[in-house]
Amino acid sequence: MPPVEARSPNTQALQGISAKGLRVDRGGRAIVRGVDFDLRAGEALLVLGRNGAGKSTLLRALAGFLPLREGEVQLDGGAEETSLAEQAHYVGHADGLKAALTALENLQFWARMLKCASATALSPEGALEQVGLARLGDFPVGYLSAGQKRRVALARLFVAPRPIWLLDEPATALDVGSQQKFAEAMAAHRAGGGFILAATHAPLGLVGAKELRLDARRARDVGGAA
């Protein structure tokens, strides 16, 4: 049984993630097949493709929600015995927020739930500041707009820092100003040796990001290290 108390993931920083021949099935059908990529610390991977090409499926598989039918993911460096999922943040379409609780309460909960004693963790107030919602801390999340809820969800990344960010269309519902702010945060994360794997249509302003194109029709991996 891996130690329940996860040692802080970045005692030794994670050097790289490499995946070979990944295949993920859903409903008996291979949605994603033959995916390879290799990321070093500080690099980003843009997962591109039409709707239904399997972008979300790939990210969910990496986050451990879906089993990998074939292939495997290698982590080098970072704390042993902790899976990729425990060193990653996943931001999907749902924000993981409880409407009845206030933004601060939600973030305080996630800070303690995804507990990690890393120095770079921001306080819930600081995280809200980072996404420009400092004054909305004690409003019930139910009263916030879709864009604001999205930013509270993104604030979770700062409250319990983890090296890998798995972002599934993070820019939806964000306006220009917030997208710009988040692009800066991503750059800072990469500068600190973090990894970003983002499935997106909108340009995220990720400089020098590798691309992985999943094309549904040919169901063949075209991408590779750009």
Partner: protein, 223 residues
């Protein structure tokens, strides 16, 4: 280790309080079920007091189970469940904490209300104490078995009814020994502690086994 689970426990209580009487709804359902029986059987208190424990136990069983289908549904809908799977705390402990929170919110008020409702069925104090004790020992098993059902049906549209159909057969031992120990409390051939200890055994078995089954059910939901 405990701080994430304590945080989860606190959050469950806070949500139930702010969303309005989360627990209170279960007690009202329990009150209605108990009051309906005399309408079917008649106002004769001698008859009612004999079957009092059975009425209270069936009502407790149904209100505990039917309150459970929302246990994972809300978290599945808003994405919290995915994040639990990714947290360093094992999903089994998350399930156990949610069951503990749900038990505190619904089963405890039920156990407090049962003796009062027993009065309307003309039961004497010994039987009331017996019912309360047996409910205290039996409801953890009901909550945990219900959690397995909730895990299986989280995300399905008509999950509630299906969950009851799946889990009710599994709760028959708890019901049998529950009513047996409640009736034994007010005298009778069987001494009180025999069925009561078996009931406690059932609950402990549920505490040990159910979280793994429920967590597996939640993980299987995705694949």
């Amino acid at each position: 280790m405990s701080s994430p689970l304590l945080a989860l426990f606190g959050r469950e209580l806070r949500i139930a309080r702010s969303v309005g009487g989360g627990g209170a709804m279960g007690v009202v359902f329990f009150l209605i079920l108990v009051s309906l029986t005399p309408f079917a059987i008649g106002p004769d208190l001698n008859l009612l007091s004999r079957i009092g424990p059975a009425i209270l136990w069936i009502a407790a069983l149904l209100s505990t189970l039917l309150g459970l289908d929302r246990l994972f549904q809300a978290d599945a809908d808003d994405g919290s469940l995915d994040l639990f799977v990714m947290s360093s705390t094992p999903l089994e402990l998350v399930v156990l904490t949610k069951c503990a929170a749900h038990w505190t919110l619904t089963a405890l008020p039920l156990i407090a209300a049962a003796p009062l409702l027993g009065l309307t069925l003309g039961m004497e104090p010994a039987a009331l104490a017996g019912v309360a004790a047996s409910l205290l020992a039996g409801t953890p098993a009901l909550t945990l078995l219900g959690a397995i059902g909730a895990g299986l049906t989280a995300g399905l549209r008509r999950g509630g009814l299906l969950m009851a159909v799946l889990i009710l057969p599994l709760t028959t031992p708890v019901l049998i020994f529950g009513v047996a120990s409640a009736s034994a409390a007010s005298g009778g051939t069987v001494p009180f502690h025999t069925p009561f200890l078996i009931l406690c055994g059932l609950s402990l078995m549920a505490v040990a086994g159910a979280p793994f089954a429920a967590a597996a059910a939640l993980r299987a939901r995705e694949a």
